[in-house]
């Protein structure tokens, strides 16, 4: 299994998001970064992820709501705040 682990990163802070993405990529994970819950949810529907890292307080849609919506679609995926 050579396929990279795909991570969904939703974080509204630019610096933190950027840095985290860079770090995770350097660590060998394929990371997609979105700046708010709404965009993150759209991405989640449209593609496949192995792991979610979410911020709680975000514009448009907060992390908790996003996690609930993700859970309705996929009840197994690990979510980290």
């Amino acid at each position: 299994m050579n396929q990279k682990v795909r991570i969904l990163l939703v974080e509204d802070d630019e610096n933190l998001g950027q840095l985290l993405k860079q770090y995770l990529t350097a660590k060998g994970y394929e990371t997609e970064w979105y700046v708010n819950g709404e965009k993150g949810f759209k991405a989640f529907i449209n593609s496949f992820f192995d792991f979610c890292i979410l911020d709680i307080m975000m514009p448009v849609k907060d992390g908790i709501t996003l996690a609930k919506e993700i859970r309705q679609i996929n009840s197994d995926i690990p979510i980290m705040f």
């Binding site: 802070d13 610096n15 933190l16 840095l19 770090y23 307080m57």
Partner: protein, 509 residues
């Protein structure tokens, strides 16, 4: 303590207080009732005393009369024995002779009583003493002969034509009433009247009220006269209620004061409770908000450091310049945020100092706008100046004034998600200048409008944070404006925009 519990306890508190007040009122009412009963009892006692006293006096007079008759009504003055007391009754007076034991002149030992006679209590007792002496010492058989007395009394009883006025004069009656009342400890004002059984008034005091609806006391005079006309003495107490109230006024007033105090304090307590509740909610919001705001730069910095130290990552993936730039940014941000909170606490303690100088508000506005020009044009927005004030120089602290203007424009931009249109207008009003800042942003709902100036207050949005902040900006603005002797108002409509109006006086002294 949650809101429901506060409500329930407040309601319970109010209900129990209301019950307490009702009980107190009932208690006072009861006391008045008892006092009234006591008073009525006392008055009735006094009245029967009066009736007795009047009868007694008449009897004494009558006996005195009889004695004298027995001693010889028609005897001449020369025949008067000098060593024994006796009376001489004429049609209009009684002369009392008391034995001249001290050999003093006759003048000193006799007393002439006009009929209708006027005796005071002392005199009555003197007469009583005299009569007793006469009866005991002289042992006049005819006097002791009861049948003679009874006969005379019966004779007298049949003298139905004797008028009441002849039996007792008005001033004597007044005196008896007064004395009896005083003996019973009744000192409040009264009015009296004597009526016969046909309701005809014989005597009356000046303010006696015929149509009196208040309580009136009545007693029969000469109750043992069963053949003559019946007479009644009526007594009114016009100030009875006042008197009864005044007898419990200390109790009443102190209860009233206590009730007022308890009510005020309870009200304050409940208000404080709700205020505290709200404050703790706001503080909680602030703490969660602040932790998030402070945690973000801390996480970023620690992540950056972790990245730099991670030996498993290739050096060329570690863009040192970029990462150190981020660390620098975040450190500054952290510093600024801590500074903000610190400043607020300094402000809270009133440690802030104003440096008042002459400031041209128009210049200040132009300078502040310049700082925002870049952001606004980046967002395809516009900022319009309508500086209409003719007089724009005021006495103000330049630094704080710049801060509040920046704050308000920053808010206008932060809470406008479409292309911003900001209008800054000035005009003169009431010896001062008004600066209005209008935006086309999201607006503020009515229920939040009054609270936006409260410390830490942010319009609640749950975990959705579209706009970052601590809820300190407007508090600061308001405080600074108040320090300048001005005021700030807000008008807003949801989704249309908000207008903040600042009024600043030319001189705040």
């Amino acid at each position: 303590m949650n809101k429901k519990l506060i409500w329930i306890s407040s309601v319970f508190l109010l209900v129990s207080m209301a019950t307490l007040i009702i009980m107190q009122a009932m208690w006072i009412k009861n006391t008045i009732k008892i006092k009234r009963q006591q008073f009525n009892q006392t008055v009735n006692d006094a009245l029967s005393d009066i009736a007795k006293e009047i009868e007694k006096e008449e009897t004494i007079f009558y006996l005195a009369n009889m004695l004298t008759m027995q001693k010889g009504t028609n005897s001449k003055k020369s025949e008067i024995p000098k060593d024994k007391p006796f009376f001489i009754i004429n049609s209009d007076s009684i002369t009392v002779y008391i034995p001249d034991t001290n050999k003093t002149s006759k003048k000193d030992t006799s007393k002439v009583l006009k009929r209708p006679y006027k005796m005071n209590i002392k005199e009555i007792s003197a007469y009583k003493e005299l009569l007793k002496n006469l009866i005991e010492t002289e042992k006049i058989e005819k006097i002791i002969n009861k049948s003679t007395i009874v006969e005379s009394i019966v004779d007298e009883l049949f003298q139905l034509d004797i008028s009441f006025k002849d039996r007792i004069p008005q001033d004597e009656l007044e005196k008896i009433i007064k004395t009896s009342f005083e003996n019973k400890g009744i000192y409040n004002s009264y009015e009296y009247a004597v009526k016969n059984d046909k309701e005809m008034i014989i005597y009356q005091s000046k303010k006696y009220n015929y149509k009196n609806n208040n309580l009136e006391f009545r007693t029969q005079l000469f109750p043992h006269d069963f053949l003559s006309e019946t007479y009644y003495l009526y007594i009114q107490f016009p100030n009875e209620n006042k008197y009864l109230l005044s007898s419990i006024d200390v109790m009443f007033i102190s209860s009233l004061i206590l009730i007022i105090i308890i009510f005020t304090l309870t009200g304050m307590l409940i208000i404080t409770l709700f205020k505290q509740k709200r404050l703790s909610e706001i503080k909680n919001d602030f703490i969660s908000n602040m932790t998030h705001e402070l945690k973000t730069p801390i996480s970023t910095i620690s992540l950056a450091v972790q990245l730099l130290r991670d030996k498993s990552i290739d050096e060329k993936d570690k863009n040192i310049d970029y990462i150190s730039g981020i660390i620098d940014d975040e450190t500054k941000r952290l510093g600024l945020q801590v500074e903000k909170v610190l400043q607020m606490s300094i402000f809270e303690k009133g440690l802030i100092k104003m440096k008042f100088t002459e400031v041209d508000i128009h210049n200040l506005i132009i300078r502040v706008i310049k700082n925002f020009q870049f952001t606004i044009s980046n967002r395809n927005g516009i900022i319009v100046r309508q500086l209409n004030a003719k007089k724009s120089v005021i006495n103000a602290d330049e630094v704080h004034m710049t801060n509040i203007l920046s704050n308000l424009i920053d808010n206008a931009l932060k809470y406008t998600f479409k292309e911003p249109e900001i209008i800054i207008e000035t005009y003169n009003e009431d010896n001062g200048i008004v600066v209005s800042i209008k935006d086309n942003g999201i607006g503020i709902a009515k229920e939040h409008m009054s609270k936006i100036f409260d410390q830490f207050y942010r319009v609640p949005t749950g975990n959705v944070h579209n706009v970052k902040g601590f809820g300190l900006g407007l508090t600061y603005v308001k405080k600074i404006i108040e320090e300048h002797g001005g005021n700030i108002t807000v008008e807003s409509e949801i989704n249309k925009g908000s207008t903040f109006k600042i009024f600043l006086p030319f001189s705040n002294q």
